[in-house]
Symmetry: C3
Subunit: 163 residues, 3 copies
């Protein structure tokens, strides 16, 4: 941590500017989850939707329409996804007292305070740049729906914006 902010960006980039008619294409997916806690890639569905739009450069914004399921970006590898679920259970345990689960303090009968708190940490949305008709993602990057109160049917809004 001793040399923070000292090194320069190594390769200086060329600037490429594109111009065109601005367009928006949007949809809402419904994703069925099977477990209470489940991390599932929806990357293929996002990529397929983007390819069907006429938009070649811009952004796709992907948003969970829920407060107990979020979206995140990481690698899909079984052991790692299990580590992630264990981390959520460790940092935000499911079996402890929460006011939101207390009938004296809340009219919510799902007892899902842990799911709300985990969704806050993960975040509810992910954006991905689009360049030349393709999602600009690193080799291992996948968009994961993070279900914390399943099984459930989850609405995921997808909005593609650009030229």
């Amino acid at each position: 941590m001793s040399n923070l902010a000292l090194s320069a960006v190594e390769t200086y980039p060329e600037i490429e500017t594109k111009e065109g008619h601005y367009k928006i294409a949007s949809t809402t997916f419904v994703v069925r989850t099977d477990e209470r806690v489940e991390l599932r890639s929806i990357t293929g569905e996002i990529a397929a939707f983007v390819e069907q739009t006429p938009i070649r450069d811009g952004m796709v914004y992907i948003s969970s329409l829920h407060t107990t399921a979020g979206l995140m970006m990481n690698e899909v590898q079984g052991a790692l996804l299990s580590d992630m679920a264990n981390l959520f259970e460790h940092v935000i345990p499911s079996g402890v007292y929460y006011k939101h689960n207390d009938p004296l303090l809340s009219d919510c009968d799902r007892r899902n305070a842990d799911a709300h708190l985990r969704a806050v940490v993960v975040g509810h949305s992910v954006s991905i740049p689009i360049t030349e008709g393709r999602l600009k993602l690193g080799t291992w990057q996948k968009v994961l729906l993070a279900e914390f109160d399943g099984p459930n049917n989850r609405k995921v809004h997808v909005q593609v914006m650009g030229i």
Copy 2:
């Protein structure tokens, strides 16, 4: 966690594309907070601003201009907000040693390291799609200003972009 990434998206969407003159409307709100830690919805103010712009489809990007107050998306329910404050205190305690609070190591006299760290976990911004003149939000979703070093006057930048 056994069936990760196996299920397909259930309903395949129709593609709707819109086109128009690209416009930007922006403003900076000042929000007064009353407590050191406070989670407050600013959803009504955001929605009212978007409705006053001519933009019917696109995005609104909402950004805290601070490093000790963030923005998050979740439900507004009193017991749940109290659980969230307790979680922050549990994971990132306020009463322990931080180098940022040590006069020998830092010239910051607010002793607010906990507030910086909590703001990193929450994130500093939230985006919401706009479709047909309305914020595309789920039933329970609200934009919350997450104050971690109040009382304070907090600047929140709002940028609406689209057609």
Copy 3:
């Protein structure tokens, strides 16, 4: 926490709308990191790139193309960055058992489960509004590349969109 959502936004804003030809400029930086865990500002490089584009109003979207390095927004102060590294080590320790690091369960030989989990908490992207040719940032806000599995060469995609 008693007066949540009761206070109004104090100053009501004027609405300013801009219109113009939509443009996109993008690049990918390569950033060299020197430590396993390192938080480094790339704000100057982002600002310099934005200034070289013809885009005066809109957004810049900055995205890590990796699953073990993220992007965050906070202050650059040495003692605080050290507190952040300590927080990650406290909440997501590097020296404990993870399935992703177990050769019986994973073919990943980098033993970097902690780096993946930390990157999920931080997030992989940051957006900043652009107004009148400048990044709309608060006094202390800096964009930090959060390296969790360095030393490494990290690709950061930068996409500027607007008018």
